[in-house]
């Protein structure tokens, strides 16, 4: 931490210097390993063989294809965002109110799908939704349908796959904020006579808005870069813009056009940012002085409050209808509808990963229903060292990237959430650019750079590359968490004589523990599941797990991947619960 050099007794460091120290590592990282390599590639779009040229852009608008695909991409991403946030909110809410032990189990379930590669999950959906798949089999056996129905290869399947991939991100981002909402506020409302619905909608919901806002923007910018899931589950019209970029990079080697499509995509996302800022204000993300916010009693704000109050009244009426065993006075006790809903979502999240368990023991391969009982897939897995090597490498890289992202991201989040600095919106856009910029462009740019630095194929290279894409998640989560953090607690500690370091150690960090843990976990999981950078920068010699999955899956959807997924599931479960045990024991001491 940069603060370690200051001592309260000596002359305090000027604010600008402190601010610079907090944000500098992030800016250096993103400038060196994102802006520079990506900028170099994007500059190709205006640099033809004969110097400056706008041909690539002329080409871009000569056919309606690129604009059309961009529009489709936008619609799919938006639908994914809305669904993820709406479905994820109750899940996050329930988790945040659960007792500690249940909470860690629920978080584990949310992240469960992360430990199987997204490729495996996409194929799992193919097995579930296929004509002879799980869902059709189930419906047929119930007699609800008499012929298999088409569930795959359309908008529905695409959205299912994408929402499934994005839900954990939405839940974790919102959860980080909800963890810090003061439970006594809705309770106070209840004591003052507000019924649960009203207390929730007028008190709790507005307090959780920073989480919703952060989740919305994170899911949207992540979803807009997707292409493998829509390609595997979608129909003829579900083409995403990243697919076109990949085609140009890998198939036709037209990097000028790839660059210009990327620029177009970046422009569109920036426009979305501006609109977002106009409607919600970036303040919802980074937070601003609460006193100045309160004074802005605009018409929109009052209308919003009225709407929330109305929703509260309606939900109170519904709650009264639905809970037969008398009224529930406290918002802490949620109606059973919520529980059922949340568990359904959690089961759906886990379904693709759990599906791998029966398949891994079946001699019928990826066919449904499984038949026979065999250990041959596990034998094949253990017969080659590649899987264990890949697992060790992925764990190393993910741990490295997780720690580095925290070291760089947390100070920056403190500054963004609390500092009074100018140009926050620009800073935020820059910060999010690793997620917005097409991953393949980052991967290619980084490859060139790593080649010059002799980092291709090294763990260090992969850690740096993954940190670039993980750090935005850390910063956004931490900013959202800090938004709800009462700074006066720090001030109180300091006024009682605690040094800034002591304040951090004994007041700030313990209070932020849960949020920091989820930020780290998310960075870890993102790196653990990252494919594109690994494809280019691992050189193929030392594969990470997703790269190994990719190799296996592009060649054959072999049940070995089911065996590996099951093995991973068990391994990670033991790892997480083991760590949890250790933590509890050390706390008890």
């Amino acid at each position: 931490m940069s603060l370690s050099t200051t001592r309260t007794a000596s002359a305090p460091m000027p604010v600008w210097a402190k601010n610079t120290l907090m944000i500098a590592p992030l800016l250096v990282l993103l400038s060196a390993f994102l802006a520079y390599p990506v900028g170099r590639l994007l500059s190709l779009s205006v640099l033809g063989p004969d110097g400056f040229s706008l041909d690539a852009y002329r080409h871009l608008f000569a056919s309606s294809l690129y604009v059309n695909v961009l529009w489709i991409t936008f619609k799919i991403s938006l639908a994914t965002t809305v669904l993820s946030v709406v479905l994820g909110y109750p899940v996050a809410y329930l988790i945040s109110t659960a007792p500690a032990k249940l909470k860690s189990r629920l978080v584990f379930l949310v992240l469960l799908s992360f430990w199987t590669s997204f490729l495996v999950r996409a194929f799992a959906w193919v097995v579930i939704l296929g004509r002879n798949g799980v869902a059709n089999n189930f419906l047929l056996s119930l007699g609800l349908i008499d012929r298999p129905i088409n569930l795959l290869y359309g908008t529905g399947a695409t959205l299912t796959g994408m929402v499934h991939a994005m839900l954990p991100l939405a839940v974790m981002t919102m959860l980080a904020v909800m963890e810090n909402i003061d439970r006594s506020l809705p309770r106070a409302a209840s004591t003052l006579g507000a019924r649960p619905g009203t207390a929730f909608w007028t008190i709790y919901f507005p307090l959780s808005m920073p989480g919703v806002a952060a989740a919305t923007i994170m899911v949207f910018v992540t979803a807009i870069g997707f292409f493998i899931v829509p390609a595997l589950l979608g129909g003829r019209r579900e083409t995403m813009i990243s697919q076109l970029i990949i085609d140009q990079v890998q198939q036709t080697l037209n990097w000028e056009l790839a660059g210009s499509i990327s620029v177009l995509l970046l422009v569109v996302v920036l426009v979305v940012f501006v609109i977002y800022d106009r409607i919600f204000g970036f303040a919802t993300l980074t937070g601003e002085d609460p006193s100045s916010q309160a004074r802005r009693d605009t018409l929109a704000r009052r209308a919003g409050s009225a709407v929330l109050a109305a929703i509260g009244a309606v939900s109170d009426w519904l709650i009264a209808r639905l809970s037969f065993k008398g009224r529930r006075k406290s918002v802490e006790r949620y109606p059973w509808v919520l529980s059922v809903f949340v568990w359904t979502v959690l089961i759906l999240i886990s379904l693709p990963a759990l599906l791998m368990i029966p398949i891994s023991f079946s001699s019928a391969g990826l066919q449904w229903p499984p038949s026979g009982m065999t250990l041959q897939w596990y034998e094949q897995m253990l017969n080659t060292p590649v899987w264990t090597q890949a697992l060790i490498r992925s764990l190393t890289v993910a741990t490295g990237a997780g720690i580095l992202s925290m070291l760089i991201g947390v100070p920056a989040a403190f500054l963004l959430a609390r500092g009074r600095i100018r140009g926050k919106a620009i800073l935020l856009a820059f910060l999010l650019s690793p997620i917005i910029a097409p991953r393949v462009i980052i991967a290619l740019g980084l490859f060139y750079m790593f080649a010059e630095l002799k980092l291709v194929g090294t763990s260090i290279g992969l850690i740096i590359g993954h940190t670039v894409v993980c750090v935005p998640y850390v910063v956004m989560t931490m900013v959202a968490v800090l938004r709800n953090y009462d700074v006066r607690l720090d001030l109180a500690a300091q006024s009682l004589g605690a040094s800034p370091i002591k304040t951090l150690r004994h007041v700030t960090f313990p209070l932020l523990g849960a949020g920091m843990f989820s930020a780290f976990l998310f960075a870890f999981a993102t790196s653990f599941d990252e494919l594109t950078i690994a494809l280019f920068s691992s050189g193929g010699l030392n594969a990470t797990l997703p790269k190994q999955f990719w190799d296996e899956v592009t060649l054959q959807v072999s049940p070995v991947i089911a065996a590996v997924s099951t093995f991973l599931l068990v391994f990670i479960t033991l790892l997480i619960f083991g760590a949890d045990r250790l933590r509890q024991r050390s706390l008890a001491r």
Binding site: L152, L257, Y448, G540
Partner: protein, 360 residues
């Protein structure tokens, strides 16, 4: 992998024989290189290819020369990777098994990203048929796109036997899939529309797309990857689909009732190519020579029906296996060779048009 598992027992029986045959042909002639290079890295297709190549090419070559060969998998057309490796001078790979269009892409500009192999006059390599050779590549495997169908879907009725049947929605009702790429798809459309094999290139795109329009609404799935299309066949998601024959064969070996139409197959060539500027180019050349051995190539068919390129290789292959090889003389005669030149020039435009067609 599918094929491999089925051949497991047969394979171990044959292993002793393979070892003997290979030992005979590897004498001191390869040992001159021992001192210079320790290792070369070869891009191949992974999976069963890596496995078969390791047993038949890589390991025996190391035993003969002391040079370790490491097979590394990459995606199907790794042109971007090769381009960036050569540009950056970071030779993660020394050589690669790549398609003819890929070779052209990498050598059409001012800067050549591949090293001329210069083996045209080499006594071992010069016996290779001319259509399997080029300045930058030595053909090592023929791949082929065929029409595959589920036999159970055509029980009691005529199964399709040509691209024309595939495009005949009324005569051959059933669920269809197409590749989400103009490669092969355009050729199929033209063949279905009655264009003779000799006249397919240069492709009449207008005609191809109007043929495609006819079946557009009857195509249930547009597939993108080989694994995906194999799954379509194995699970019975579709009844008929144009597919790489290796995928159809792999589906068949996992007990799916798959029929294969070899007539009008569309075949292409994978070649060994050396990355321009690699310090290990000499070792790569020796390795390429090593693979141009009919007996050794024939050994590949113990693992999968390889598209062997050496003309004499079929002398050593079980006739029952030979008919499954894409390079089987009869298949080559009835097939359409992919025109790499045409696709290098027209790929961009065709891809753009195909993508737009998908959305319309």
């Amino acid at each position: 992998m599918g094929n491999n598992i089925n051949n497991w027992s047969r394979r171990s029986v044959l292993k002793a024989g393979v070892a003997g045959a290979v030992a005979l042909s590897t004498t001191s002639m390869w040992s001159s290189l021992r001192a210079q290079t320790k290792r070369i890295v070869v891009r191949d297709d992974g999976g069963v290819y890596t496995k078969a190549y390791t047993e038949v090419f890589y390991r025996p070559f190391q035993e003969a020369t002391g040079i370790e060969v490491i097979g590394v998998q990459a995606n199907a057309e790794p042109t971007a990777q090769i381009l960036s490796m050569v540009d950056a001078g970071a030779y993660t790979w020394d050589m690669a098994k790549i398609s003819q269009p890929a070779i052209r892409m990498l050598t059409q500009g001012q800067k050549k990203y591949l090293e001329p192999h210069g083996l045209g006059n080499d006594p071992i390599v010069s016996v290779m048929p001319e259509h399997f050779m080029s300045e930058y590549g030595v053909g090592t495997n023929v791949y082929s796109t065929v029409l595959a169908y589920r036999k159970d879907a055509f029980e009691g009725r005529q199964a399709p036997t040509s691209w024309k049947d595939f495009y005949d929605v009324e005569g051959f009702p059933g669920r269809r899939a197409l590749r989400r790429h103009p490669f092969d798809t355009i050729e199929q459309a033209l063949l279905a529309d009655g264009v003779a094999i000799a006249n397919v290139y240069p492709c009449d795109l207008e005609r191809a797309f109007s043929a495609l329009d006819r079946i557009k609404n009857d195509v249930s799935v547009f597939w993108t990857s080989g694994a995906q299309v194999e799954q379509l066949l194995v699970s019975g998601e579709v009844d008929m689909v144009p597919v790489w024959v290796s995928r159809a064969q792999s589906a068949r070996s996992s007990n799916a009732p798959v029929g294969i139409v070899w007539d009008q197959n569309i075949w292409g060539l994978d070649s060994w190519a050396i990355l321009a500027g690699t310090p290990n180019a000499e070792a790569c050349r020796e390795f390429i020579k090593f693979t141009c051995d009919p007996k050794r190539q024939a050994e590949l068919t113990k693992y999968f029906p390889a598209g062997v390129t050496h003309p004499q290789a079929f002398d050593f292959i079980d006739p029952k296996v030979a008919v499954d090889c894409p390079s089987y003389p009869d298949h080559i005669a009835k097939g359409l060779p992919i025109d790499a030149q045409y696709w290098t020039e027209k790929q961009s435009a065709a891809l753009e048009r195909y993508n737009a067609w998908l959305l319309s």
